[in-house]
Amino acid sequence: MELGFTTVDQVCAQVDFKDNLSIIDLSQVSFIRPFGLIYLGMFLRHHNALGKSFRVIPPPQNSNAQKYLTTQNFWERFNFNPDTVAKQSILRCKNCTSLNDVIDIQNRGYIAEDVASDVLKVLQNNRILPAEMITEIVSELVDNFACHSKQNLAALMMQYYPTLHEVVIAIGDCGIGIRSSLASNAKYKYLKVKHHYEAILQAFEPLVTCKQEGGTGLTMVRESVIDSGGYLILTSGDEYVRINEKETVYGTMAYNLTGVQIQVVFPEGG
């Protein structure tokens, strides 16, 4: 099973919270997409913050998937107790922006600039195009987290698939989510009782923001992704929106996860 957008919410929805130590079954996972990693990480971080412990029994049977999670420092990063991971050595990965690694993003004033600068260097060093456009999108998404999530920590992953000629960016937080954020502006208070997808779609419209100024960031992200021939998926609460050049679709998630989780896929050179 691939742990990605189409499956990760089901894995989360199957967790039985009645047990003292809830079990997350990753045994059938053979491949992990950035969205799957970030979404699951936010699920764990959210529940850990609420004092809930988890055990992963059993971990992926697939050794590559198991190694991948370990290399990403997944267990510690998302507040797992390392003792619960069956005696495997936990490799610490460097905590800086690089291709194919998760990084944690701490909410501070100019964090988006710092991340953007790192991302641009990585893309340029690896000759991945369009570097400037991808970097601008990353900075917008990170700044959105910093300005709107009301959370201290987010996670970002940039993954390059050379054979697919794809660059994938995934970023997630477990903050207040788009609906609550927009509804804090009197103009969009009506969204409080609407579906999450309605708030998400609204947020992509020009000049829609919970603040006095701005409201062009997500519009730019959408336009740039469409222009590049890529697509994006944004989930918030129990709904998602998927956008590409041909269509905008929305639907339900099997799990209602707080915050915002987004994946942007660019064709290389797009």
Binding site: T6, A112, L120, S139, G214, R222, E223, R242, T248, Y250
Partner: protein, 124 residues
């Protein structure tokens, strides 16, 4: 007399919206001493749409946008000016190098009618 300066003199890096706000304050000050100014948008790795939007919109709110011409060197910046022009319904003047001054044409925004997806399978 036209005064020309690079956008880096107003603020750097040119990515975040709040940097655009800083830049607009400096720009408005400069316009009060030199009537017509040209802001060169060259030699910066990334000038984000948010940065430009804030710079342009705040300058407009100060009533000084008419005095500014942006110097652009590539199509991507021109597209951003077009987007801002469309979103804000503003008259933005720019030129490529020493060519004639142009006004940003309105750039349409792609709009789909959203539809409900029964399945999450990604076809993109």
């Amino acid at each position: 007399m036209v005064t020309v300066f690079n956008v880096r003199e107003l603020s750097y890096p040119c990515v975040l919206r709040r940097r655009g706000l800083d830049a607009s304050k400096k720009l408005v000050k400069r316009i009060s001493t030199a009537k017509d100014v040209e802001v060169d948008l060259h030699n910066v790795e990334i000038i984000s749409l948010s940065f430009l939007d804030e710079l342009i919109f705040r300058t407009y709110l100060s009533g000084k946008l008419e005095s500014v011409v942006f110097r652009v060197h590539d199509r991507s910046i021109e597209e951003k000016l077009e987007r801002i022009s469309a979103i804000r319904a503003l008259n933005i003047k720019y030129r490529f190098n020493d060519n004639d001054i142009r006004k940003a044409a309105l750039r349409g925004v792609v709009k789909h009618m959203p539809s409900f997806a029964e399945s999450k399978s990604v076809s993109a």
